[in-house]
Amino acid sequence: MALACFAAGAIAQADEARARKIVSGVCFVCHGAEGESSSEQFPRLAGQNSEYIAKQLDNFKTGKRKSTAMSSMVEKLTPDEMTALGKYFEKMAAPAQPPKDPALAAVGGYIYEHGNRYSGVPACVGCHGALAQGTAALPRLAGQFAHYTEAQLKLFNKRERTNDNAVMHAITEKMTALEMAAVAEYLSGK
């Protein structure tokens, strides 16, 4: 038993070292050395769910999620490396900061928890959780840059985000520009 644990520990260490090498060689310029991200243009990966990250990397590689920037970054990644990268970023501390526009964030908080029954927008909390931490399959939204979250909502709305679209398109279809901005603002401070 002890040997298996030791072996598992050694493998985990090797994975982390491999992930760190990839991050410090390629990902760091945009996503930061620890996934904290250097700019709101690029999503924060720190604290993100590992399976979700691995899936996105795979989707970028197969082209299921279209991105001219990301497709060349992932072309050499193996499935093991994608898993390792997911685990690497999941462990990083998700930086917290209050929203820049609290009033807008408050509007977003209402929509996040209750949806908009007048227009038919479901509550995000139903899938993404009360703390917006998501699940293994769904992304953590808490602490993500408002600019990035809002951009993704718009892309889902227009079906230009090509993966994970079945549910998200139906949801965002009914969201107004204000609601998208507000929810994104709320999540950035969670």
Binding site: S24, G25, V26, F28, V29, S72
Partner: protein, 424 residues
Amino acid sequence: MKRRQFVQAGAAFGSAALVAGCAAPGMSRGPKVVVIGGGYGGATAAKYLRMWSDYSIDVTLVEPNAAFVSCPISNLVIGGSKTIADITTPYDSLARRHGVKIVRGMASAIDAEKRVVKLAGGGELPYDRVIVSPGVDFMWETLPGMNRPGAQDKVLHGWKAGPQTLALRRQLEAMPDGGVFAMAIPLAPYRCPPGPYERACQVAHYFSKAKPRSKVLVLDANDDVTSKGPLFKKAWTDRYKNIVEYRPKHKAVDVDVATNTLKFEFNDDLKAAVLNVIPNMRAGDIAAKTGLATANKRWCEVDFLTFESKAVKNVHVLGDAVQSAPLMPKSAHMANQHGKTCAAAVIALLTGKAANPLPIYNNTCYSFVSDEDVVHVASVHRYDADQKTMITVPGSGGVSTAASELEGRYAMAWARNIWADTLV
């Protein structure tokens, strides 16, 4: 304007191939431009002359090599992480897609009065404008020992990609572990400022994996590394500490080829297992023969709006052969930019119009410090009407903060794209 059939000229030099690809009938009634040299400058100029004139200018490209072999990335062939095929592109797309007529051969002279290019081996090409992009040739007179029979086959420069690239790689493969690879760098200006230092990294990388007791000696005539100095030095210290030794102010003045010994102006002789001597260089021979090399008899002064020679009318010069503007490097990227700028200007001039008064273009130069990690230097150049030359735009440009694999990805993307832009 004279019209000659130069199909016969093709037969005159044996294996030459004349590939004619006309895009539409009546093509030969357009103005004629001859481009001498199918490198980064000439091939780009030929393609863009066709493209940007809506395929109405008759363009003939004179080039001795059967295919294009790129100097950028060739250091990785020397280091062993890429093959010669990786850096080779055929010329036929220029003919097929763009209707450039390709004459395989060399220009021996330009008759500026009659406006013909004479071909070595016979034949003449009439022109309205001629673009000379001859690259560099070596000043062997500055290394007397290199003029002895067989010397240049034994001590290689590897500064024109192709057979020498492979031959230098073979020399390194054959070298026993523990040997010394000594590279002599000439005083600036020379083709590709960071090239030698990148080569030092590539050879050191190879040694670190395959011959760890071997050494790379960089003997630099210059006072310091001429490009990306701190970045290269950091790579040498961090990655190749016991392998690379950099010695500035070592000006090579002769080579004893029999004993593989370098002789310097002020320093002791140095013997090495493999010598790589990069000689002083100047504009390609055709430039000197045609009176174009006006600066110290080495480089060709041009008008930077049109690249027309300051010495000879209707003759334009591109690339490494040009007397550079301030801070303008002799690089492949730059030669390609010259090609496009000149093509646009020649098209304008051939219709009696003024050339673009404000050319703006850039240089982005990637250097591999290992087989994967890369650093770059970038600059933006624009024409200054007061100084009548290209200057770097204040506040722009810069170098990498550090080497990274990410930049290595971009470097290969650059290579793919510039090869396509130049030749496809």
